[in-house]
C-alpha cells in the first residue's frame, strides 16, 4: 500500500530555513498507526512525519541535482510532457522508526521547484509505484496548471483528492492497462470540468 502522497517544495523558500520544505498537499491513507494517542496528538504527529519526509526528499533532490550538474530550464504551461521527461527521480530509504514504525521506500519526482512524493510500504511493487507516481504527477501538472504562476494546488486541492480516489484508492496501487486507465481518467476529467 501507499502510506502517503505529498506535493512539496524542493527549492529554497525565503520564509523557511535552508533544508526545510513547504508542504502544499498531503494525503495519508489508512488508519493511523498511533492509536494510543489523543486525536489532536495523532494529527500533530502525522503532520510532523509528513514534514520529515518532505525534508528528506528535499535533501535528496538537491544532492541529486548537484551531483548531476544539470541546469534547470524554466518551463511554461504546455510543457508538461517535457517537465515530466526531464524530472529528476529517485528513492529514499526510511529506516523503521524514522519516522514510520516500519521501514519505507519513498519514491520521488522532482519537477522544477516541486517534489511529488509517494511513501510506499515494504513489499510494494516499486515498478508499479513509479509508473503510478509519474501518472499522478502528469495529471497534477495538467489539471492544476502547475507550470504557471497560479496557486491552484492550494485552491483546488479537491481535484487531487478525486484523482487519488480513482488512481490510488485508499492507497492501493492498481494494475491498470491503458483501457482501464482511460476510463478512470475520463471520470476524473469529468470532475475537473466542473
Amino acid at each position: 500500500m501507499v502510506r502517503c502522497f505529498l506535493i512539496h517544495t524542493v527549492c529554497p523558500v525565503s520564509a523557511l530555513s535552508a533544508g526545510e520544505s513547504r508542504v502544499l498537499y498531503s494525503r495519508v491513507f489508512g488508519p493511523d498507526e498511533e492509536s494510543e494517542r489523543t486525536p489532536e496528538e495523532r494529527r500533530l504527529l502525522q503532520k510532523e512525519k509528513i514534514a520529515a519526509v518532505a525534508r528528506q526528499v528535499r535533501s535528496a533532490v538537491s544532492l541529486t541535482r548537484e551531483a548531476s550538474g544539470r541546469v534547470l530550464v524554466e518551463l511554461v504551461p504546455g510543457d508538461e510532457a517535457l517537465a515530466l521527461q526531464d524530472a529528476d527521480s529517485g528513492v529514499v530509504r526510511l529506516r523503521a522508526g524514522d519516522p514510520f514504525s516500519e521501514e519505507m521506500s519513498v519514491l520521488w519526482l522532482g519537477v522544477q521547484s516541486l517534489g511529488f512524493t509517494m511513501v510506499c510500504e515494504p513489499h510494494e511493487n516499486l515498478l508499479l509505484a513509479e509508473g503510478t507516481l509519474r501518472n499522478l504527477t502528469r495529471h497534477c501538472l495538467e489539471h492544476l496548471h502547475m507550470l504557471g504562476q497560479g496557486s491552484e494546488v492550494l485552491l483546488r486541492s479537491t481535484r487531487i483528492d478525486v484523482l487519488l480516489s480513482r488512481l490510488l484508492p485508499h492507497g492501493q496501487l492498481l494494475f491498470l492497462n491503458h483501457r482501464f486507465a482511460q476510463t478512470l481518467e475520463k471520470d476524473v476529467a469529468a470532475y475537473m470540468a466542473m
Partner: protein, 664 residues
C-alpha cells in the same frame, strides 16, 4: 511553479486571527443553510480547508458547522463529499459525536466518507466492526448500491488489514478468499458495452458480445486478467483488477508460513510436496489448463474440492502463470509494456509466496520461471524484473535442484557494473541483499568476491545508498577481502570520478570540436593510463590489493576533486571506515591486523587530494590505530618503527602522545 502568491496564501491561512475566523465560520454556516450550494459555498469550503490544513496545530470547529459538514459527506455532489471529508479530516470530531463503527452502513457511504471514517478509527474493535459491515456488503451482491461502491471495498479492506490483520475473522477470510477466486479466475470473457453508452460499467452488449483481447490485439483464448483489454468493462472485470492489485498483500497476510527461516530441510519439503500432490483436484471449468505444465504427475481423479484458502492459492498460481505468458506479447502501447513488466514482477513475487506455502508448486512453477529468466536475462531493460526471479531462486532453487550461477553473475556482475546509475535498481538490489543476507552468505559463495562491483552503487550516489551500506558493509569484511577492501574504500572518491568518466566516455565522441575537453577524460581513454582506471572499474576482488601507480592515478583525477558527486562520496567514507574497523577487529587475527596497520600508515600519505577528506581520514586512522594498539599491545612491538615514523610526521599531537606512552 512555487510562486510568491502560493506562499502568501499559506501565510494568510496560518496567521488568520480568531475574531476573523469566527466571523468566517458564521458566514459559512449561513451559506450551508441555503437550498442550493453554489460556487461561493464551494470556494469558502476550500478556503476553510486551507486554513485548517496550513498549520499542524488543530483548530476546532463550532458544533453547528461540524454538524452541517458531516451531513455534506453524504451529498449527491462529489465535490461536496470531497470537500467536507477533507475539512473534517483536519479537525477533531466533536466529543460524543465520534462515529459508531457498528452502525455505519458502507453501502450508503461513498469512498471519501469511508476514507474519513477509517482515518478516525481509534481502536481495533472499531475497524473490526466496520470490516464486518463491509463484508456484509460484499456478500449481499447484487444489490442496489450505487455503481462505484463495490469497487472501493477491496482497497478499503486492504488498507485496514495492513495494520490490523486480526480485524477479519476466519469466516471473513474464507468469504473473501471465495470472492477473490471468483473474480480472479471467472470474470467475464466478453467485453462490456462501448464507452459511448455513457455508463461507468456496462453489461455485455446485447447483440454479438465481442470477446476480450490481448494487448497485441489478438483475441484472448483464456480467462480475463489485468493484461486484457476491451471497449468497456463489466463489473466483475473491474473486480478482477482490484483483486489482483491486492492479491500479494492478502497472501502475505493470511497465507504466509510463519517460520522465520526459509532454509527448510529439502527432504521434508519433498515429502510434503508429494503428499500434497495427491490431494490436488481439477476445478469444474477448466480441465486442462494449457498454460500450466504439471510436473507432478499424480493428480488424482478424485473430485475432492480444495478448501477456500488452498483454492485461492491454486487460482493465484494459474493467474500468475497466465500473466507470464501474456507478458511475452508485444503490446501496442508503451504504458502497457511498462505494465507488463510490473505484472511480471508481481507474478514472480506471488509465485514465490505460494511456493513457500506449498512446496509442491515449485515443480510446476520452475519451468516457466526458468524460461522467463532465459528470455529476459540478456536485456538490461528488464533488470528490475530479474530481482524477483533472484528471490525465487534463492528460496526455491535448491529444492528444484537448479544451478543459479548465471543468475548471480547477473545480479553481482552485470547489474552493478552497468546499471549503477539507476537509482531504482540500486535501491531494489541493495534491499534484496539486506533482506536475504543470511541466505546469500550461505548459498552464494562468491558474494563477498564481488564487493568492488557492489561499491559502485555507493560511489555513484552515496547519499542515496550509504544507509544500505551501513548495513551491508560488515558482511563484506572477511579475512580474504580485508586489505583490498580497505584500499578500495579509501579510493572510493576516485571510483566515483572514474564512473563519471566512464559514462561520459560512452556518450561523447572521441574528439569534440571546439569544446573544452577534460584532461582526465583524455587520460581515461589513453592507452598508457587506461589500465589504472580499469583497475578501479574491476568487478571482482582478487586481482591485487591496489596498484603501484596509485599516485599517478590521483594526479590524473585531480580536476575531479571538486565535482559534487565526488565530494558527496568522500563525505561518506569516514563513516564506512569506522564500520569497517569495528568489524575487522572481530574477524581478523593479529597478523592481518598488523598488515592493516601497515596499510593505514602507508596510505595516510597517499590519499586523493580533496581538502577536508585527507584530514577526516587521518582522524579515523588515529582513532583506530590507537584502538588496535590498545587491544593488541604486541602489535606495537611489531610495528614500532613504522608507528614512530608515523607519529613523527603526523600532525595529530594527541596520537603522538598516546603512542609514546604505549610504546615501551
Amino acid at each position: 511553479m512555487y510562486s510568491h502568491s502560493s506562499e502568501s496564501l499559506i501565510q494568510q491561512a496560518r496567521e488568520i486571527q480568531e475574531p476573523e475566523l469566527q466571523k468566517f465560520y458564521s458566514r459559512l454556516v449561513k451559506l450551508l443553510q441555503g437550498k442550493e450550494l453554489g460556487h461561493e459555498t464551494v470556494d469558502s469550503l476550500q478556503r476553510l480547508y486551507l486554513i485548517l490544513s496550513a498549520t499542524k496545530y488543530t483548530r476546532m470547529l463550532p458544533s453547528d458547522l461540524q454538524k452541517r459538514l458531516r451531513s455534506l459527506l453524504l451529498s449527491q455532489s462529489e465535490q461536496l463529499q470531497v470537500l467536507s471529508a477533507a475539512v473534517l479530516r483536519e479537525t477533531l470530531p466533536l466529543s460524543g459525536q465520534e462515529p459508531n463503527y457498528n452502525q455505519e452502513n458502507p453501502a450508503q457511504l461513498n469512498s471519501h466518507a469511508t476514507a474519513l471514517l477509517i482515518s478516525q478509527a481509534v481502536t481495533r474493535t472499531d475497524l473490526s466492526f466496520f470490516c464486518a459491515q463491509l463484508l456484509r456488503c460484499l456478500e449481499g451482491r447484487p444489490s442496489e448500491s450505487p455503481a462505484h461502491s463495490l469497487l472501493y471495498i477491496l482497497p478499503v479492506l486492504n488498507t485496514i488489514l495492513t495494520h490490523n490483520p486480526k480485524c477479519l475473522t476466519e469466516d471473513h477470510v474464507t468469504l473473501v478468499s471465495k470472492k477473490l477466486v471468483d473474480w480472479l479466475r471467472y470474470a467475464s470473457i466478453v467485453q462490456g458495452g462501448g464507452a459511448s453508452s455513457g455508463r461507468f460499467f456496462t453489461g455485455p452488449r446485447s447483440r454479438q458480445p465481442l470477446p476480450i483481447a490481448e494487448l497485441d490485439g489478438t483475441v484472448s483464448g483464456d480467462f480475463f486478467t489485468v493484461l486484457c483489454v476491451g471497449q468497456g468493462f463489466t463489473e466483475d472485470q473491474w473486480m478482477n483488477v482490484y483483486s489482483f492489485s491486492m492479491l500479494r498483500h492478502w497472501l502475505l497476510t493470511y497465507h504466509s508460513v510463519s517460520n522465520g527461516n526459509t532454509t527448510v530441510d529439502a527432504a521434508n519439503r519433498l515429502q510434503l510436496s508429494l503428499s500434497l500432490s495427491l490431494s490436488f483436484s481439477n476445478d469444474d471449468r477448466s480441465e486442462v489448463d494449457g498454460s500450466v505444465v504439471s510436473m507432478v504427475s499424480a493428480t488424482s481423479s478424485s473430485s475432492r474440492v480444495l478448501p477456500p484458502k488452498e483454492r485461492l492459492r491454486e487460482k493465484a498460481f494459474q493467474y500468475c502463470q497466465r500473466l507470464i505468458e501474456q507478458s511475452n506479447r508485444k503490446a501496442h502501447k508503451k504504458t502497457d509494456t511498462e505494465l507488463q513488466k510490473a505484472c511480471l514482477v508481481e507474478a514472480v513475487y506471488i509465485l514465490d509466496c505460494v511456493c513457500v506455502e506449498d512446496a509442491s508448486l515449485v515443480y510446476r512453477t520452475f519451468p516457466s520461471i526458468k524460461a522467463l529468466f532465459g528470455r529476459l536475462s540478456s536485456d538490461l531493460l528488464y533488470a528490475r524484473v530479474l530481482l524477483p526471479i533472484a528471490q525465487f531462486c534463492l528460496n526455491h532453487g535448491e529444492l528444484a535442484a537448479v544451478d543459479c550461477d548465471s543468475m548471480w553473475k547477473l545480479v553481482f556482475g552485470r547489474f552493478p557494473a552497468e546499471l549503477f546509475s539507476d537509482p531504482f535498481l540500486a535501491h531494489e538490489l541493495l534491499r534484496f541483499l539486506r533482506l536475504n543476507l543470511e541466505n546469500i552468505q550461505l548459498r552464494v559463495s562468491q558474494y563477498t568476491h564481488f564487493f568492488p562491483n557492489l561499491l559502485k552503487f555507493l560511489a555513484w550516489d552515496s547519499p542515496a545508498v550509504v544507509d544500505d551500506f551501513v548495513d551491508l558493509l560488515p558482511s563484506l569484511v572477511t579475512p580474504g577481502t580485508t586489505v583490498e577492501l580497505l584500499h578500495t574504500l579509501l579510493d572510493l572518491p576516485c571510483l566515483s570520478a572514474t564512473l563519471v568518466l566512464q559514462l561520459r566516455s560512452a556518450c561523447l565522441p572521441i574528439s569534440e570540436p571546439g569544446s573544452r575537453s577534460l584532461a582526465c577524460l583524455d587520460a581515461f581513454r589513453h592507452s598508457s593510463s587506461r589500465g589504472l582506471f580499469l583497475f578501479l572499474l574491476r568487478g571482482e576482488a582478487g586481482s591485487g590489493d591496489t596498484i603501484e601507480r596509485l599516485d599517478d592515478l590521483h594526479k590524473l583525477l585531480a580536476e575531479a576533486a571538486d565535482w559534487p558527486r565526488v565530494i558527496h562520496c568522500a563525505q561518506t567514507v569516514p563513516v564506512l571506515l569506522h564500520i569497517f574497523f569495528n568489524t575487522v577487529v572481530m574477524v581478523a587475527d593479529e597478523t592481518l591486523l598488523a598488515h592493516l596497520i601497515l596499510v593505514m600508515l602507508e596510505r595516510s600519505s597517499l590519499l586523493f587530494n580533496i581538502p577536508t577528506y585527507i584530514k577526516e581520514i587521518h582522524r579515523v586512522f588515529s582513532c583506530h590505530l590507537l584502538r588496535l594498539c590498545k587491544l593488541h599491545p604486541s602489535l606495537i612491538m611489531y610495528q614500532s618503527h613504522e608507528l614512530l615514523e608515523f607519529a613523527g610526521t603526523t600532525a595529530n599531537v594527541y596520537t603522538k602522545e598516546e603512542l609514546y606512552t604505549h610504546v615501551p
